[in-house]
Every structure is written in C-alpha cells, then in structure tokens.
C-alpha cells in the first residue's frame, strides 16, 4: 500500500480541481481509486465506467495528461505519486469526468460505419473472408477499436478544427473500404477526400500513442491518403480477394 494524491478536475463555475489522498495497493487501477474516493470521501464525484476490463471504452479519461482507460491504468505504471485525472479533451464536459461523446460520433457517422452490402449478393450466402486475403491482413489489428475517444482527445488537429473526421472514424472507414462485401465505396471515399478528411492529418502520431488497444491509426490514415492518390491500385487491391 502507498499513499497517492489524486487531483480530480471538477466541473462547475470555478473549474477547480479537488485533491484527495488515498491509500492504494500497487495493483489497483485509477478507476479503483475513483471508486474509493466516491465511496469514502466525496459521493458527488461523477465518472463513467462499465466493463472494467478494457473492452467497452467507457472510462476513457485524461490521466496525467494522457488519454487512457481508467480501468486499464494501474497506479504503479504511472510512476508518480500525484495522479491528475481530467475529462477527455475536445469533448463537452457534462459533469466532472463525464463527457458527451456527440462530436466524436457525429464524425463517426459521416464515414457510414455500418456495412452496406452489395444488393446483388445473395444475402443468405455467408461471405468467407480468409485471414490471408487482403482484407483479412488489413483488418488484423485494426478492428479492435472500442470507440473510447482516446485518439480523438489526443489529436492536436481535432483540438484546432472540430470539423476534422478524427483518427477513429478514418480507421473505421478504412476497414469498411477494404471489406470486399461492402458496396458504399464511393460515398466513403468522397467523405475522406475532403479538406477535413484524411488530408487534415499532420501525422502527429498522438492517436497512436493514446490508443489503449494499440491500433496504428496513423497507418490507416496514410493508407487512405495513398488510396486516394492511386485509386486504380486501391480498387485492384480491393477486388483481389479470394472471396466467393
């Protein structure tokens, strides 16, 4: 057990932070610390969480100025006895550490994240996407996004331009574009080929550093930039699938 000082940003007119001193075991996470504060010191402290195993993305917040999942951040790994906890940046704060995800999902919706299958395909016939196919290879390590918004909060471009699609939406668009079953190719490419689409990315790699699932989002953005530059190559690649 060790003593930690947790500085939590509180919403309200003064925008002040509250300091709490808590005794934590090294194996405990920041989310455990927040629960401890809520139960024993200040029941009005608000934060969001759900699965507690890093698969829902609900508890994303800024911990020591980096967007992280509170449930996946053990206090020991922070190598600091003062832990500053703030709500995610670039998103409107509802209360304390709770943010409204609307701006993030507004951009997410722009890329048509759902599958738009080819109407000519037999809907009863299951598509087979082998891991060795182009899509199978591309999707590996890119489909783990839990829409926590950490990349959106870390992105410096989102901070200066809220019209920018953001890394998560572009990654989703890339996954759908590489999917041989999908048919909304041109609509998505049009959305990406915009001054606030992929071209706005300045390759700061903040999204890669922040992503709790280790997705190389900048790689997805760069792939999309190249596919817009070389559309024939992109379509050839897309159509080259050993898919029935």
């Amino acid at each position: 057990m060790a003593t930690y000082q947790i500085r939590v940003a509180r919403s309200g007119s003064d925008g002040a932070t509250d300091s709490f001193t808590v005794e934590l075991d090294h194996r405990m996470t920041v989310l455990d610390a927040l629960f401890l504060i809520q139960r024993e010191q200040d029941p009005t402290l608000s934060f969001r969480c759900s699965c507690r195993v890093g698969m829902c993305g609900t508890c994303a917040m800024r911990i020591n100025w980096q967007p992280r999942l509170a449930c996946q951040t053990r206090v020991l790994t922070l190598k600091a006895d003062t832990i500053v906890v703030e709500p995610l940046a670039h998103l409107p704060v509802m209360k304390d550490l709770v943010v409204a995800m609307d701006p993030f999902f507004e951009q997410w919706k722009r890329v048509k994240p759902a599958l738009h299958p080819d109407p000519k395909r037999d809907p009863k016939k299951l598509a087979v996407v082998p891991p060795t196919s182009e899509f199978g290879k591309q999707a590996q390590g890119k489909r783990d996004c839990i829409t926590c918004g950490a990349c959106y909060a870390a992105c410096g471009i989102v901070g200066s331009n809220e019209e920018y699609l953001g890394p998560a939406a572009i990654n989703k668009a890339m996954l759908r574009l590489m999917d041989p079953r999908d048919n909304a190719v041109d609509e998505r490419l049009e959305e990406l080929n915009d001054e606030n689409g992929v071209w706005r990315c300045h390759t700061q790699f903040n999204c890669v550093a922040a992503c709790p699932k280790g997705i190389n989002l900048t790689d997805s953005i760069m792939k999309m930039k190249r596919s817009l530059l070389f559309p024939k190559k992109f379509h050839d690649k897309r159509n080259f699938v050993d898919n029935p």
């Binding site: 000082q5 020591n64 100025w65 980096q66 190598k79 600091a80 006895d81 003062t82 410096g156 300045h202 390759t203 700061q204 790699f205 903040n206 890669v208 550093a209 190389n216 900048t218 790689d219 760069m222 792939k223 930039k225 190249r226």
Partner: protein, 130 residues
C-alpha cells in the same frame, strides 16, 4: 511529490515523439521563413560595393558565425524531419516512427550538424582574425 515538470518531460520524450516532431517542423519552418526574408532584405541593400564589403566584414564576426551554426542546425532539423515526413507519407517506417524520429532525424541530424559546424567553429570563431 512527482513534479509537474518531470511528468511533462516524460510525456513528450518518447511516447509523443510524433508530436514533438510536428512542433519542431513548425517552429523551424517559421524560423527559416523569417531568416529568408531577412536574408533577401539584406542582399537587396548591398548594391553598393563598399557597403557590400562592410557587410561581409560584419558577417564574418564570431557572433554571426555562431548564428550561422544555429541556422545550419535549423536547416538540418527541418530537412531531416521533412525526409522523415515524406517517409511517413510513403508508408515507410510507420510502425517504428519513434525510432525513425530519434535515430534518423535527431541522431543523424546531430552527426551532420557536428560535421558541418566543426569547421565553422574552428575557422570562424576560434581562429577568427579581426
């Protein structure tokens, strides 16, 4: 208590190398634009031979040589980072972007700076004859 400064340094040192590179590129770019304007303005004023000689004598002073070394460092940083960015755009070294930044941009850049700045320092500053 861990100080805010040490936490901030930790934040920008390794994990956020791309962000650091972005700001280096912006600031060196702005610096070079400012220098270019100053440079063209100075050259423009030197149409008189006597004035030109006087200006060259001023520019060979150790203070200006130090400035030249600083200029070389800015150019190297901007150029090496530019090459790194081109590589990123082509998809080269995307998964190793931190290594590319620290070893290629900063490491190789520092080696180039030493190679270029050493003669300037020895002949322009140490052995400078007024």
């Amino acid at each position: 208590m861990t100080s805010a400064i040490s936490l901030t340094i930790r934040k920008y040192s390794w994990k956020y190398a791309g962000n650091l590179a972005f700001w280096i590129q912006r600031l060196t770019g702005l610096g070079l634009v400012f220098y270019l304007i100053l440079h063209v303005h100075t050259i423009h004023d030197l149409r008189d031979p006597a004035k030109f000689d006087a200006a060259l004598a001023t520019f060979s002073k150790p203070f200006f040589k130090l400035g030249e070394i600083f200029l070389l460092a800015t150019v190297i940083l901007h150029a090496m980072n530019g090459i790194r960015l081109t590589m990123v755009d082509m998809g080269v070294g995307l998964t190793k972007q931190r290594q590319v930044f620290w070893y290629f941009t900063i490491g190789l850049g520092a080696a180039l700076l030493i190679a270029g700045a050493l003669p300037m320092f020895i002949y322009g500053i140490l052995r400078h004859q007024p």
